[in-house]
Amino acid sequence: MSNEVVMNSIVVRLAGDSGDGVQLMGSQFIASTALSGEDFSTFPDYPAEIRAPVGTTFGVSAYQMNIGANPITTAGDAPDVLIAFNPAALKVSLPLLDKGALLILNSDSFVARNLTKAGYEKDPRETGELDGYQVVSADIGRLNLEAVKPFGLSKSDGGRSKNFWALGMLMWMFDRDLAPIEQWIRTKFAKLDVVRDANLEALHSGHAYGETAELSEAIPRFNVNVAELPPGEYRGISGSEALALGLAAAGELADRPLMFYSYPITPASPLLHRLARLEDLGVGVMQAEDEIAAVCAAIGASYGGAIGVTSSSGPGIALKTEAIGLAINAELPLVIVNSQRGGPSTGLPTKTEQSDLYQAVYGRNADAPLPVIAASSPSDCFDTAIEAVRIAIRHMTPVILLTDGYLANAAEPWLLPEITSYKAIESNELDSAAEDQNGGMVAFQRNTETLGRPWIAPGEPRRMYRVGGLEKDIRTGNISYDAENHQLMTKLRADKVVRVADFIPDQDTEIGLAQGSVAVVGWGSTHGALYQAVRRLGDTRVSHIHIRHLSPLPKNLGELLAGFDHVLVPEMNMGQLSTVLRDKLGIEPISLPKVTGQPFLINELIAAIRKQLPGPNVKATLSVTQGDRE
């Protein structure tokens, strides 16, 4: 292999029309990456339209993946390899690439009509604008059609397997074993013999192309270093999968059914789809008629003693807001998952943003606080889901769990946890002495530490109670319009959320010391980028702090942040966590907002951190920075 490149990590971007099968190609490649022992992070970047007009830039669907030795925490800044299925895919992706990157272009599609649709006046391969890149033209479309010709498929049906042809070529470039993909194709198309065989043939043909064509000199082969992950059993996991499994695990830990009621919305729907397949795990799923019905049905399930969960994205959460207030007033557990997207209104449905933090923390009528927690990586969704259910049941309150479009779709390797290592989720016990004293309505005899009430459900004799949206007597639960009682109840609802902080861990740093010049503070899916930026910078004066519990904040957070000269808060909104920190801790953070719909790049974060640092780098000696790959 004369043209082999050894790399510690590599960023590959696949781009094509929405109908080109790029997402499937990417996810299959990642499955093989995982099996070959490399760390990875992926990011699908797809348009809002299902099948946008063929060949247009707004119809481009892309799948970006960063693979290699650990730690890989983001899908990577600049792709090292781009496979572009058409001119529009090249046009959209080229600005992301640095010079020197490898471009593999599906040359069949570089015809006048497609060039015009992509907005090219001339073929970019001939204008010099690709100078400085390694350009490989491959007739992917034609070669694929030739390969599948024996199966007698129509031109359009035959063309469908070109993603497998390209995948075969990619597998050759990375010296991967084809067997797992062959197996997948056999299972997936078990009932469609011709499609199955055509896809297998395309895969092998693409692989053979790399092997035999004269181009094997031009196409480099990559030998990517294997990751040094902690020992244990792993699988690849997306945020949606992890969240679904985490919710199911929470049901198991609480030993109650988990009822998930939701209405389809981008980018939250994958969670609905995942949970719909987990019914063996004591999960019940219903697609409701609208967002309001979904949350109301979940509240109904909680009233019935099952764990009610609903899920949506920002606009849907807005619709659910009144019902969330009902759950607060009725003191019922409920988990509301928000897979955030760009907004306002319909906004950028397929693009990531963290702009619903205000909505989660402050966005209800009246004084209606609730706990808010956020997942920080695809696999972290598992623990976050369990934590959300635990808080909801312990304090008898709705909890908002924030994730986002990036987390929902991105994937990474996951060191599989032992379910037995998690503590059971217990509800507040009813004080039997209180029961004897009060007779009937004992549903509101709250636990003095959690302020959560016992979770009494229909079916229990002698404990029948009525509850609703009207203010209720703090003791009996009967309707009460008493002024003093409302004051007490409002305070109780606020105190209950404050009490959550008694049960959550102190805030720690992800990287770095507990004091210094700059604390880089983030929440949610920016974890990977922030972590990597601080790590690469390797300056002992800089620490990374990532907040899971956004309301209430960990008790020690104020003290921790006071140990730094500057608090830099990069977030994918206009500075919402900055506002919350200013509000709750009285500090003045430096906000670094980004709302382009794309994740933070590590280089832009490093530049922003450097701005706050006087003088040259102070090199870190902390162990966490060892093994840095640059």
């Binding site: 499955a31 099996l35 022992g37 797992p180 992950l229 020992p231 244990g232 059993e233 792993y234 699988r235 690849g236 499994l245 695990a249 198991e252 059914p257 009822m259 987990l278 019914e279 063996d280 795990l281 004591g282 019940g284 219903m286 008629e289 609208d290 309001i292 019905a293 109301c296 049905a297 509240i299 109904g300 399930a301 009233y303 019935g304 003693g305 099952a306 009144e322 019902a323 207030g325 009902l326 009725a330 599989l416 946890p417 032992e418 379910i419 459900a457 229909p458 079916g459 229990e460 004799p461 002698r462 404990r463 029948m464 109670y465 009525r466 509850v467 609703g468 009207l470 009967n478 309707i479």
Partner: protein
């Protein structure tokens, strides 16, 4: 059905002071409800009343059962979620014409078309009571109210047509003060497995008094009410001298002299949707009782049938975590 013969209407009455206006039709409905439940021998702890917002929606507070007074229009959605999680419970939904057909129209529509096993009671008084007398979606054309000083101009909705159009499989009507008729309808609703939708003509003594008097007045009741019984001829009037006949020319029902044309009097078949719709079109006499009843599997029955063993946990998350392609790092 479980039986607890010792319970009386009083056992179903909560200690809460009832706060409807004196003379409100809701009192009569509440009384018939407690009596009916006692007679049916249901267990109070396995009975849940779910309501939305409005005068009618205070109902759960007055019942010594489980009760959930939710938010405006959403009771069918809350009740659906509850019924799916706890199919063995007897779940009643109490709503009104504004709550159920205006702000909550969508949820009612879907509860009916899914055939969720709920007993849905729509207290229709053709007015918004709790917000002080605005016209509602069932108010008649020209209803003068604080929000329609020149008379309402939107055509009223027919709850029965709405229910049948939505695919509802049980529709009945009763009058608030008609203890016998209402009690019978409540019993049949309770026994129906699926969404049983009952429209109760409820007199709002403050904002819409006597709006149904044309057929509820006891003096003229015989002439103005058609009490339907399955498999029995549609007779009414003094000594049942009148009957309903199908007119094939106009495709509608018409009143005939039953003594003169006894053979032409229609026999009520509650499973016939066409006849049900024709009955909904007539206002004099007003058709009462079970107008349409055509059982099919309820939503929760189908849902659980598709799942096999209900909500039981058949496997642990631990069992499936490792089912997908995994790899080991040593």
């Amino acid at each position: 059905m479980s039986t607890q013969p010792d319970l009386t209407a009083k056992d179903f009455t909560s200690s809460q002071e009832v706060r409807w206006c004196p003379g409100c039709g809701d009192y009569a409905i509440l009384k018939t409800m407690t009596q009916t439940l006692a007679k049916l021998g249901v267990k109070p702890e396995e009975t849940v009343f779910v309501s939305g917002i409005g005068c009618a929606s205070r109902f759960p507070y007055y019942m010594e059962t489980y009760g959930f007074h939710t938010i405006h229009g959403r009771a069918p959605a809350v009740a659906t979620g509850l019924k799916l999680a706890r199919p063995e419970l007897d779940v009643w939904v109490v709503t009104g014409d504004g709550d159920g057909l205006s702000i909550g129209g969508n949820h009612l529509l879907h509860a009916l078309r899914r055939n969720v096993g709920l007993n849905i009671l729509l207290f229709n008084n053709e007015i918004y009571g709790l917000t002080k007398g605005q016209y509602s979606p069932t108010s008649r054309l020209g209803t003068r109210s604080p929000s329609s000083p020149d008379g309402s101009i939107d055509a009223p909705l027919s709850p029965g047509h709405f229910a049948l159009g939505a695919g509802g499989r049980f529709f009945a009507r009763a009058i608030d003060t008609d203890k016998v008729g209402l009690g019978d309808v409540l019993r049949q609703a309770h026994e129906f497995e699926g969404a049983a939708f009952t429209e109760i003509f409820q007199n709002c003594i403050v904002y819409n008094q006597d709006v149904f008097a044309s057929f509820t007045d006891r003096k003229t009741a015989a002439e103005k009410q058609l009490q339907l019984k399955h498999d029995e001829p549609m007779l009414f009037g003094t000594e049942n001298k009148k009957g309903m006949r199908f007119n094939p020319d106009t495709f509608s029902l018409e009143v005939i002299d039953a003594t003169e044309y006894p053979d032409q009097v229609l026999v009520h078949n509650e499973t016939n949707k066409v006849i049900a719709q024709l009955l909904l079109d007539i206002t004099s006499p007003m058709a009462l009782g079970v107008i349409y009843k055509n059982p099919a599997d309820s939503f929760e029955q189908s849902w659980y049938a598709a799942r096999g063993k209900g909500l039981e946990r058949k496997r642990s998350v631990a069992d499936i975590l490792r089912k997908t392609d995994t790899w080991t790092v040593s």
